[in-house]
Amino acid sequence: MNIQSQFKSRFLHWIFLVPTVLVLVVFLYFPAWQSLILSLFRSNLFLGTRQFIGFENFKNLFTGPLAPAYGQVFVQTIVFSVLVIFPGLVISLILATLTNSLGKEGKIYRILLIWPYALSPAVAGTIFSFMFNPETGAVNTFLGLFTSWQPRWLDSPLLVFFLVVSGSIWKNLGYNIVFYLAFLQNIPAENYEAAALDGAGTFRQFLKITIPLVSPVSYFLVFTNMSYALFEAFALVDILTSGGPVGSPPVDHAGLTTFLIYKVFQDGFGGSSNMGFAAAQSVILMVLVALLTMFQFKFGETKVHYGGSSS
């Protein structure tokens, strides 16, 4: 694009930018700084107390009796993210590719596949908690008609993890499919025709052409899904499992579906509350997210070129 010719004005650009910048400074920068400050204090929400304690909150996260719980939460958050992102993206891509391959005939499937974008994590959690109640839920009642197998959906560590992951994948399918479909529509058919002439089968075409072509959008989706796994899954967990259950050693220090953001919430607003301790966890989350974003920018550039899409 042509950068030379641009509008010039003495103050118009400020008027255009101020609302956005002001909101970002007041409601993102300032709270971020405040979290950092608060992490150095012991602060009970109910008592309204604030005592400066230096790095004690951070120390408690890494050593001492509170540390194993944090460690467990950290690890299971990563496992959860990976389990939500990759299978979710693969399923979405396959469904989007199949729909796209039908051309105009596939139009009907579009709406059938993308509606879950309107699903909220809270709705997914509510429906799942009704379906999967181990004693009175429909799934076990249904299973009871054929077998005596009654899975303990909400307190068996593996099953509960499976349930929360499936709920998240389900909730995200619509979003992922939308992006893949929008992208695939724009891939010229010649790409495939040439490959078909070379005798490449459907699977090879998918592997050799589709996957590399969609890599920029996959890349983008990895990060939006990660943001879901780290933050938005809160509602699903809050409604479906309340962060539970506690497993047996070695995963007996915290609820198995207590993820980083849920723990921030629990330690800050639940129980007897130490907002400082929760703030220290927010700070660690910020560092984690900052690292991930830097990683995204660094590798994102090269990936996009590799994708070979129009730039």
């Binding site: 307190d155 259950p245 639940g270």
Partner: protein, 446 residues
């Protein structure tokens, strides 16, 4: 130059945002004072079911009909924990509700938060009719802090049809942990597939079982002689409870939904006829019998306790209504009057009949006796028997600690660990370490 301009603009916007917020509250205050509308008295409570919240709202409407100057606005605020939290936060912004429904384990936290005014300081009024042990629970340093409202204790609910099918006598329900297990085993042998005991995994039951055994949950006279500094989760009484649940579970007799504190889920298990025994609050007597309708015959029994212990009694608790500081005196008095109205003789009788909570007044009990309420259906007396049998001591008075909520969660998680195969002693040890740490962290706030 431009930078300066922008920073000035930013400041102006900031100030106007703050000032805007300020103006609004001022305006609200002015309009409150100027209008001839009745003054609103806010009451936040935490019953989420139609029945109980409807009852409160109806009574508020009754009261409002006979008062022109004040208007009670009763609002449901989520769980007990959330209600207390909401009140504390509202108070920080000077928009505290006048009356707050606080559960017994929140007493210390409510007290420490400093947002409440002991109701005993608001004029003089007669409290002699309130059941003494219950009132004692809410009396600190000789002043009545809050007015007891809904008190209950856990009892055993029985699916009598299953007991009969198992060849057991429903009129003679199990009274001890050992008898529960024996009854379940007998029922299983007799082919009752749903033999077992269900209760939601909740620290409240654990606390009741400690009290029945006369064991405190924290040191310093259960937190009543001085601020508690250490929990007693590793007592032998505590281990007895853990081992009972473990045995129950190992034998396949324990049933719950897998979620902690899932009251509704556990009730549903019992109502759907999926378990022979069920433990929950007497307060659910009304709701549960309505839900069961005539699907099976329901009976009740006393809370089973360890066979090794005598019955010390239950924790006299439940929830009470607290008054927050900082309102004009006339509003405080009106709020107090409403809560005295809510808990008057007739209303408490009605409350008891509908729900199963104890009426907290002696006169209500007398009248119920005169009406023959207790002789009509024996299920109704269980709760009173438990209350009247209770010995007054520091264990049954209930523990006081600022981190009671955390301790509950820690105990629940420790039990869940055991259900998932962890070792009892190790789990208890871990739980104690954590609970003690939370407690000492909390105490450092003072």
């Amino acid at each position: 130059m431009k930078k300066l301009f922008s920073s000035i603009l930013f400041m102006i916007l900031c100030v106007s945002l703050f000032a805007g917020g300020q103006k609004e509250t001022d305006a609200a205050a002015n309009s409150m004072a100027a209008s001839s509308q009745p003054k609103e008295i806010q009451f936040w409570f935490s019953f989420s079911d139609d029945k109980r919240s409807g009852w409160i709202k109806d009574l508020a409407a009754d009261w409002n009909a006979s008062h022109t100057e004040y208007k009670i606005v009763a609002e449901q605020k989520g769980s007990y924990r959330e209600t207390l939290q909401a009140a504390v936060l509202a108070s920080r912004q000077s928009v505290a509700p006048h009356l707050v429904h606080v559960f017994e384990v929140g007493s210390q936290l409510a007290f420490d938060s400093g947002i409440f005014e002991p109701i005993g300081n608001i004029g003089s009024f007669d409290t002699s009719d309130y059941i003494q042990p219950v009132l004692n629970y809410y009396t600190l340093n000789g002043t009545v802090n809050s007015i007891p409202f809904n008190s209950s204790s856990p009892i055993l609910y029985i699916n009598e049809d299953m007991m009969i099918q198992a060849g057991l006598d429903p009129k003679n329900p199990p009274e001890t942990f050992e008898e529960i297990i024996a009854a379940c085993e007998k029922a299983k042998a007799a082919g009752v597939t749903e033999a077992g005991l269900g209760f939601n995994l909740h620290g409240w039951f654990y606390e009741q079982w400690l009290a029945e055994q006369g064991a405190p949950i924290v040191n310093n006279g259960n937190g009543r002689d001085g601020r508690a500094t250490e929990t007693m989760l590793d007592s032998k009484e505590s281990k007895i409870i853990f081992n009972f649940i473990k045995e129950l579970n190992d034998k396949g007799f324990y049933k719950y939904t897998g979620k902690l504190e899932d009251w509704g889920g556990s009730d549903a298990i019992f109502q759907e006829g999926k378990v022979m025994f069920h433990i929950t609050s007497t307060a659910d007597l009304g709701n549960i019998s309505t839900a069961i309708d005539d699907r099976f015959q329901m009976g009740t029994g006393r809370l089973p306790i360890p066979g090794s212990s005598k019955r010390n009694g239950v924790v006299i608790g439940g929830a009470s209504v607290w008054l927050t500081k900082g309102h004009p005196m006339d509003e405080m008095e009106a709020a107090r009057d409403f809560i005295l109205f809510l808990t008057n003789t007739e209303n408490m009788m009605d409350w008891h009949k509908m729900t199963g909570y104890y009426p907290v007044r002696n006169s209500s009990i007398e009248k119920l006796e005169q009406e023959g309420w207790f002789t009509e259906a024996p299920t109704r007396t269980i709760a009173f028997t438990q209350l009247l049998e209770t010995e007054s001591n520091m264990a049954t008075a209930g523990g006081l600690m600022g981190t009671f909520g955390d301790t509950r969660t820690i105990v629940e998680e420790a039990i869940q660990k055991v259900l998932n195969g962890a070792d009892v002693d190790a789990s208890i040890e871990q739980a104690k370490t954590l609970a003690d740490l939370k407690l000492s962290e909390y105490n450092k706030n003072f």
